[in-house]
Structures are given as structure tokens and as C-alpha cells.
Symmetry: C2
Subunit: 320 residues, 2 copies
């Protein structure tokens, strides 16, 4: 094996030819952000996006086991017959400061795919990227697409706003709940309902499945009417039960997006959101520059002395 080049274009060529180490290196660049990370992202955006599936839900809902099962189903191809060459999993944990932290422990269970060169599993938990994970994740998804991967599963650890944002920036968003979820997740319910294209009731071997389903159906009945009503799939991921049905539900949602012409509309909306995030990240750099300056320190001292309020101070600093 020849040593890895450091040039993004050369690396991408190697990644396209199936070199996992080259792909991993490119993902590290995206993780870390900076000038090289941006160069990689720019390259990635020249290619089409892969089909992305977001998976979100409360910690402990069994998402990683479900993802594990889903990989096998995806490798079997689209239900109507089209083959899927390669599938990537991006496991996103905004609460962990280190890439490959807590979440990688769960990934050990995915070892059944460890030797399969058509499956690529990657944890992301970086804050190095300008704009954080909400920018690093879409960049990484595009990178998989540029490297020729067909499907990317994005799995997030919790149900915080950032996690929901990341998982819902996918073509199909799967929300995972468990029997009895309603009580513990009252606050997140509306937000999850809004982003769900498919609902999964995992741990369906436990009591309370009927109530969970009724709860979801009632929520869907009350939701604003649209052209798509999320399907509710019951799974027992630990026994690989229902996973094939989940994959069929994802495929049905994809068919709907394609036939209704909504896929390009959704993707364009997402690009607009990404552009807005890049703009915000850029202006944050400007603010950080101001904060580290001497005038900022002077302004804060004047505020502490009661001579200046923060709004006046900000005006002064921005007027420079």
C-alpha cells in the first residue's frame, strides 16, 4: 500500500477507488475544519449528494442496534431492485467533546460489518469545524457522496435541538421511540413529530407498544395535513425484527419524494440552511476577533463600572 497523499484531490481519487484509509483521512480534515477541511468540503460539493437517512430519538432507544440492523437491509439494495453499492454510517454526538468518544463504545456491536469494505462507520463529535457539527455533518455526507457512496445513515445520540437539526437534514428522517416514550419526552414531542418521515417503535417486545402507537397516531391526526403521513414501524432491533420493514418504509418515503418532485425542493431548502449556517459561522469569527481585542476589554471594564450597557458597548465595537 502506497502512503497516503495529503492533497485533497488525490485523496478523493483514492477514496473513489475504494481506499478506506484515504476516505478516513478526508473525513478527519472535515472534522477538524480549517482551510484544508474547507477545501475538502468544496471538492465534495461538486458531486451529487448521496441518499441520506437521519436517525434520531432519545438515548437508550436502541438507535445504534437499529442502525446496525439497517446496514444489512440497505446492503440488500432498494426494495424495488436497484442495487446499493456502499453504505456509510455517521454517528453524531454533539455532547461529546472528542471524536470517537462514548458513542464508539456502541459501535463495537457493529463489528459484524467491520470487515465489509462496502460499509463505513464513523463517529463525529468535533467542535473543531467552523460552525460545529451542524456544518461538519452535511460536509461529511457530501464527502461520502463524492467518494461514490450511495447511502449515508446519520445517527444522532440524543434529542437536543442540534441533534434533531442534524438528523432532519437528511432525505428521510427516522424518529425512534420506545414503549412508554410519551411520558419521558413530553417536551420534545412536537419537534420530533415535525421532522419525522418514518416513526419506529423499537423494543416492540416490551409492554406498551399499542399505547405508543395510539399516541403517535393521535399526534399524526392532529398534525397539519400534508401529502405524506409518516408510517409507524415496530421493531425489536436486538432480534433483528422489523428492520426489513423499516427499510421498506424508508424506501417508500424516498419513492414519494421522487414521484412528488419534493426531493430537489427539500435538498435546495437544505442548501439554503447550510449557506445560512456558513454565513453565521463566518460572522462568529468576526465577533471572536472583536472579543479578543483590547477595545472589548475596555468596554467590559466600563460596563462593570456602570458606565456602559452591553447594547451601547456592542454598537461601539461594531462601529469599530
Amino acid at each position: 500500500v502506497s502512503p497516503l497523499p495529503s492533497d485533497p484531490e488525490a485523496l478523493l481519487e483514492r477514496a473513489r477507488a475504494g481506499d478506506g484509509a484515504a476516505l478516513a483521512r478526508l473525513l478527519s480534515y472535515v472534522d477538524r475544519g480549517g482551510a484544508t477541511g474547507m477545501d475538502v468540503a468544496r471538492l465534495a460539493y461538486r458531486s451529487d449528494a448521496p441518499y441520506s437517512v437521519g436517525l434520531t430519538g432519545a438515548p437508550g432507544a436502541g438507535k445504534s442496534t437499529l442502525t446496525d440492523g439497517l446496514i444489512g437491509a440497505v446492503r440488500g439494495g432498494w426494495p424495488e431492485g436497484a442495487a446499493i453499492g456502499q453504505v456509510a454510517v455517521l454517528a453524531v454526538d454533539p455532547t461529546s467533546p472528542f471524536s470517537g468518544g462514548a458513542i464508539l463504545g456502541d459501535r463495537v456491536r457493529m463489528n459484524q460489518h467491520a470487515l465489509d469494505p462496502t460499509v463505513f462507520i464513523r463517529s463525529m463529535a468535533t467542535h473543531g469545524h467552523l460552525g460545529g457539527l451542524s456544518l461538519a455533518a452535511p460536509d461529511a455526507i457530501r464527502l461520502f457522496g463524492a467518494a461514490g457512496w450511495d447511502v449515508v445513515i446519520v445517527e444522532t445520540v440524543g434529542v437536543g435541538q442540534m441533534e434533531v437539526d442534524i438528523a432532519s437534514a437528511a432525505d428521510t428522517t427516522v424518529v425512534v421511540v420506545t414503549p412508554g416514550w410519551g411520558d419521558s419526552m413530553q417536551a420534545s414531542k412536537a419537534g420530533l413529530l415535525e421532522v419525522a418521515d418514518v416513526f419506529v417503535i423499537n423494543k416492540a417486545d416490551r409492554p406498551g407498544v399499542r399505547e405508543a402507537r395510539r399516541d403517535l397516531e393521535q399526534m399524526l391526526d392532529l398534525a397539519r395535513p400534508g401529502s405524506w403521513r409518516p408510517q409507524i414501524v415496530e421493531t425489536t432491533a436486538t432480534a433483528a425484527e422489523g428492520v426489513a420493514e423499516l427499510w421498506r418504509a424508508v424506501a417508500r418515503h424516498r419513492d414519494h419524494l421522487v414521484s412528488s418532485g419534493q426531493l430537489p425542493v427539500r435538498r435546495t431548502d437544505r442548501l439554503a440552511q447550510e449557506l445560512r449556517r456558513v454565513l453565521l459561522a463566518r460572522t462568529e469569527v468576526t465577533v471572536d476577533g472583536l472579543v479578543s481585542g483590547e477595545e472589548f476589554t475596555t468596554a467590559v471594564k466600563a460596563m462593570a463600572a456602570g458606565e456602559l450597557d452591553p447594547y451601547e458597548a456592542a454598537e461601539g465595537l461594531l462601529a469599530g
Copy 2:
């Protein structure tokens, strides 16, 4: 009763004289943000900050009952004897889009103070304010100070990053846990440890108190050494047990801040954070201006056509 003036200075004068309706009107201005909200905040920053106590912890930990009890203790004055004239409660719920939503239900239990003109309870859940609750909350705290209130208790609903940020932007931050909390809040532990000045184990009539205390002590043993080790207080808020001890622990922390000279240092640090937030909020307005412009739409179309990546597009828009 004469009708309320709309001028902030006149309203503040009335609020200082004990007019609760005038104070409520001023808080609404701060809630809603905008030019008037900013005028009110600017007025508020001319006065000294009140002593603020932040209360955070998982939903269901009994924070509102604890706050209820704490009001009574605070009204009894500082333990060393100094009287406290008035106490305000700011109940902050970033997950609720409406002011006075879910959280107000809990507040019904506080009715024992409803007729006490020296107690003021207010829910905040607005997103109207430029910069959101993380700016509106400090503005509201300063407003209470400007109106002559001595102590403000800021209670947040959950343990999301924003809630922890808001509760920790207080002079003394109280973190509320319950027996068995360790299992359910693994992810938030480190963040809570970092901001806690006082720990409360509420629902101390339930099994597992000893384990919860040992868990906290171990965490504190492992934490970086500092001049203050958070005290751990056991309470059963529903029976008003331990609440007086909690108030003494808060007072002890305040004494420490004053005698060590850390109080002005902490407050200056907070002012710096507030100034940074105002700067970010201002630049966000700039970005929103760009996003609503025609050039943005054109850029997104070019991105959808694969002719432009978001980084290039952002550069172009900012150079605009």
C-alpha cells in the same frame, strides 16, 4: 390606580415605588425585545445587579416546589441578619415557544405567595428578544435590580446547554438532583458539576439518597481543586424539609464570593459573556438580512445546480 405610562423611565419609577403592574409591563418589553426592550434594558443596566440565584436540574426534580419553599426562606432575610425586602422568581423555559406556557402550570403551586407584594413570579419563554432567552434573562434580572428587588431566583426547566448557561449566569448556581439521578443524567453530569456552587438532593425521602451523595462527593473529589467545594444539601421540598439549610448554603457561598473578592470578578466575566452575546445577536441580524435578499436566492440556486459550494457562496455574499 392611574393608567400605566408607556415611557420606560416613568414605568421604572412606578415599579420602584412598588407598582407590580408597571414592573410586569417592563418585563414584557424585555421579553419582546425590539427597540423598546433595548431601551428598558439600557435603563436597567444603570443600576446595580440584584443577588441572583440560579436553579437548574432535570425536569421532574422538583425545582418549582423547591423554589416555592426557597421564597419563604429568602423572605426571612440573610442568615447573618440582613433583611431582604423583595424576592423575584424568573422561571425560564427555552423549550416552550410561549411565555407563560407549560411552566405556569407549576407556578399555581406558588399561590401561597400570590398576595404577597414583596414576591414577584414571572415565566419567560420568549424568542422575541434579539439573542433569545440567553440575553432576555440577564436583562430581566438587571431590571429587577433597577426596580429595587434584592434577590432574583432564576429557575430553568431542563438541563439543556441553554438552560445550564442561563442558570449558571447567576451569582450562586444551585444544581438539583434526585436519588437515582446518576443513571439518567450521565451525559449532563460533567457540565452540571462545573457550574454547581451548591448541590441539592431533592426528594430525600426516597431511597438512594446515600448513593446520590456518595456519587456527588466522588465527582467533587475528582474535580479540579478550587477555593470553593460545593455543599450538598438534602431536601424534601414537598414537606419543606431542608429548605432553610439550602438557603444557608446559598448564603455561605455568597459570603465566600464577597470575602474572596470573587463576586465582582464573576460579574465582570458575565458582562463579557453578555457583550459577546449581544455582538453575536447583532451579526445574526446582518446575516438574516443577507438571507432575505435576492442574491441569497440566486446563490442557493447556483448551489442546487452544482455550480457553487456554500463556502464560496458565503464569501460572495459577505463581500457583497
